[in-house]
C-alpha cells in the first residue's frame, strides 16, 4: 500500500499547480501520473509514484552513495560503482 515505484518523467501534459499531470515511464510502460506534489521535476528525472501520484523526486547523486560506500569494503572481485548507470541527461 505504501510502496512507491520509481518511473521516468517523459512528457508533461499539464504543469499547473494542483492538477499537474505527466506521462511517466515504468519499465517501458507509460502511465499518466498526477504531479501536484512534484511540479519542479524535469523531463528525464525519476520520481517515486504512489497511488497514482508522484510523491518525490529521486536524487541521482544520493542514489549512488551506498554503492560508493560499500565499494571500499569488497575484494577485487566485488562490486564496483561503475556498474551503476550514470544519471541520464534531461531530455
Amino acid at each position: 500500500m505504501c510502496l512507491g515505484i520509481p518511473g521516468k518523467v517523459v512528457h508533461w501534459l499539464e504543469r499547473e499547480g494542483a492538477f499537474s499531470q505527466a506521462e511517466v515511464e515504468f519499465d517501458g510502460v507509460r502511465r499518466v501520473v498526477h504531479m501536484a506534489c512534484v511540479t519542479e521535476a524535469e523531463l528525464g528525472d525519476y520520481v517515486v509514484v504512489h497511488a497514482g501520484i508522484a510523491i518525490s523526486r529521486i536524487d541521482p547523486i544520493e542514489a549512488k552513495r551506498i554503492f560508493e560506500t560499500i565499494a571500499g569494503w569488497g575484494d577485487d572481485e566485488g562490486w564496483r560503482p561503475e556498474r551503476l548507470e550514470e544519471p541520464e541527461a534531461p531530455q
Binding site: 500500500m1 505504501c2 510502496l3 512507491g4 515505484i5 520509481p6 521516468k8 494542483a18 492538477f19 515504468f26 519499465d27 498526477h34 501536484a36 506534489c37 512534484v38 511540479t39 525519476y46 517515486v48 504512489h50 497511488a51 497514482g52 501520484i53 510523491i55 518525490s56 529521486i58 536524487d59 541521482p60 544520493e62 542514489a63 552513495r65 551506498i66 554503492f67 560499500i70 569494503w73 569488497g74 566485488g78 562490486w79 556498474r83 551503476l84 548507470e85
Partner: protein
Amino acid sequence: MKYLDEYRDPEAARLLLDEIRRVSTRCWTLMEVCGGQTHSLLRHGIAAELEGTVELIHGPGCPVCVTDQEAIDFACQLAQRDDVILASFGDMLRVPGSRGSLLDARTAGARIQIVYSPLDAVQLARKHPEKQVVFFAVGFETTAPATALAVKQAARDQLDNFSLIVSHVRVQPAMESLVQAPDNRVQAFLAAGHVCTVMGYESYESFVEQYRLPVVVTGFEPLDLLEGILACVKQLEANEVRLENRYARTVQAAGNQSAQDLVREIYQICDRAWRGFGVIPEGGLELCLEWRQYDARTRFSEPALPVLGIDECRSFDVMTGHLKPPDCPHFRKSCNPESPLGAPMVSSEGACAAYYRYGMTASH
C-alpha cells in the same frame, strides 16, 4: 528497472550482510515499521539470513491491517445500496469486517470496483453521474495526499456524487503507543521510507530524544534494508541514539511540502481506532469541516451497526512484535489467504501473508 534493480545487487547485499554480522556482538531486536519492508525482508531472504544476528519484528505499518472492523462493516453497508458504487484498493476486498468482507458483499450483489488510485475513483464518479461513488480511503501519510487531491478534483469538477470513507492513519502515534507499552521489545526502528518521503523525518528528533531509541529512515529494496539494519546495529553497538536518513535519494528532512500542504488543506488530525490496538490518540486523519460534505458518513444516514462477535485474529500481538505469524495458533489452519481470519493474512503488506507466501513455517 533503474533505482530498483541495482538495489538488488546480490554481491553488494552479501557485503552488507557480512558487515552486519561483523559489527554485531549480540542479537538485536529491530522493528521495521512498514509492511512493504516486511515483505521485502522475507521475499529476499534477509530475515532468514540474519537469524541469530538481528531479530526483525514487524510493525503496525500496514494500513489495511489496522483498518477498524467498523469501517469495513460501514463500507459493506454502503456497497449494498443500489445507488452506490464502492471503490477500494484491491487489498481491502478480502479483509474481514465483523459481518464479512467487501468480497462477500460483492458476491451478494454489491457493486464494488477496485481502483489503483483515488483519482480513478473520481473518474468513476464522472462516468456514473447517476450513482454515488464512495472511495474507501485507507492509507498512511503516503496515501493521504492522493486522496486529498481526489477531493480537490471532485470539488473542481463540482461532482456531488463522490465521497470518502476516511480511514487514514498516522504512523508516528502508533510507534509511540508501542514503545510506551511496558512489554515493548523494540530496540531500534527502521522508519517507513515512503511515509517520510511525504512527512519528512524532523518530527522523529523528539521521538528519538524522548524514548532513547535509534530511528533510521529506510527504503524498500534489499540494499536499502540492509543499510538501514547496519546503521541501527552500529548505533546499538556503540550505545548511541540517533536519527539517521538512509533513504536520502528519496527522503528529505522536511519531506514534501506540497504534499503536506494538500493534506493540511483537506484533513485534520483526529483520534482513531486501530484494529487490534484500540483508539490511538492523534492516530488518524479526518476531513476538515470545510470538506465534510465529501465524508460518506455525513452524506449517508445509514444506521450505525454494532460490531459483531470477537476478533480471533492475533494481529495486535504480531504487529507489536510479541508473536511471529507462524506461532499464531490459526496460521495455516483456520487462517490462510483464501479464508483469512485477519487482515495481515491477505493484505499485500500483511506480515502473516508474507510468512505464508515465502514459506516461513517455524518461529524465527
